[in-house]
Amino acid sequence: MGTITRGFANKILGNGVIDATGLSGNIPASNVDNTSVTNITSLPASFEVIESTASDPSPAATGTVWYNSTTAAVKYQSVTTAAAWASGGNLANARHALGSAGTQTAALAFCGTQDPPYLTSTEEYDGTSWTAGGNFPTATAYIGGCGTQTSALAFGGQPSVPPSNTAQEYDGTSWTAGGNMSAARTGPASNQSTQTAAISFGRTVSPRGATEEYDGTSWTTGGEMANGRYELGGAGTQTSALAFGGDSPTFDATEEYDGTSWSSGGNLPGAIFDNAGAGSQTAALSMGGRLTVAITTVSSYNGTSWTADTAMSNARFASGGTGSQTSAIVYGGRASGVNLASTEEFTGAGASVAKTVTAT
């Protein structure tokens, strides 16, 4: 048998598909298997070898290649080799000592202070910009938060003197009163627990290590931290929480909660407080904070020890912070006497990201 000559794919069109018209190619006889070619009777004039979309697919599996017709770019999904920060949309209201909840692409910021005034405003983040949500019933600062953007919980805080023991539930639109804690607490840690299985730890008055757990209706007393503290970093869930840093005195200590009691974990690289937290008990981030002045320092926890991670662009303390160890976000805070509106987004090493193919 001789060679076969057919019209075949030859070039990529502007919309990312391959055009099969106009050219031909020879398949050597040695490569032709009679059986395998028996059923091939035609080829389409053109067909897609990579998907053409108006926007990047999400989620996209690692190795996926596509053509973005909006930006006229060929892109692919890869993994990052190093951690890095990028700027996000600015808060409408600069603030510090705010409450936080949600994820990097669906975060919640509420309350806080501009020293003065204390704030009632809530803002919702969509991965690009912040928009106004329902106002908190009372202007409050040094408040804790957890949950998601559409199912968040706020607890404690300092609306005035004395501090608050109340909790408020957010449904994505408005705040309604939840069950009251047994004692008031200012400066509890925000964390990644949920509205119906929440945990609150840390407070300014003794016992500073007091912990309370919420079931969506009422609070019950949990185990007490060995290192009583406030304005600390928090991560994890009700049955697997993490406490790190905090005041007063200033701590480098980490403690891990198992739903019943706290036990010691690896120490932070240095004593800090007013640090933001994200992630889980075995994969957490401590972001910013201060000892004397605001810092850009970021540390990663692996369940045993902390290591230095890529620093933020802006020093900040008492900021909002949420997300996971590989996809976190910080917003607001304070540095050098100024309340911050800026947002920074963290992408950890090994995270899946879209990259653009560039010609050289």
């Binding site: 990052t80 190093a82 890095a84 920060w85 990028a86 700027s87 996000g88 949309g89 600015n90 510090h96 000592a97 202070t113 020293d115 003065p116 690009t128 910009s129 040094y142 200012t186 400066g187 300014t204 304005e231 005041d247 007013d274 004397t292 002045v293 850009t296 890529t310 620093a311 662009s313 802006n314 020093a315 303390f317 008492a318 304070r334 540095a335 050098s336 006497g337 100024v338 800026s342 947002t343 920074e344 987004e345 992408t347 990201v353």
Partner: protein, 101 residues
């Protein structure tokens, strides 16, 4: 001439896209009061970023003056606060910042 590690510019952070992930992967950007941004010296990617954000180049002395003015204003505002507000947690007096060369 002394070797310098950093260069400075002034640019207003407009939010999303001001510092992209790919920017941070290529070089380190550090912000200071007064919209002052520190980038590594003699870095082509950093120079392109300054162009992208329409940054205005500043010498170390110029950048330091901007930062110092911001800190001085913040310190004056703090000094004018009533004692009750000065003593609030999280409201310590702003400290001076010295930009590195």
């Amino acid at each position: 001439m002394a070797h310098k590690n950093f260069e400075y510019c002034v640019a207003e952070c407009w939010g999303k896209g001001f510092i992209k992930l790919e920017d941070s992967l290529r070089f380190k950007i550090t912000g200071f009061p007064g919209n002052v941004w520190q980038i590594p010296a003699h870095n082509q990617d950093a120079n392109l970023w300054v162009y992208k954000v329409a940054g205005t180049r500043k010498t170390l002395q110029e950048a330091q003056a901007i930062v110092t003015a911001e800190i001085t204003a913040a310190q004056a505002a703090w000094d004018a606060l009533p004692e009750e507000q000065k003593n609030r947690p999280g409201n310590s007096r702003p400290t001076d910042i010295v930009l590195p060369e």
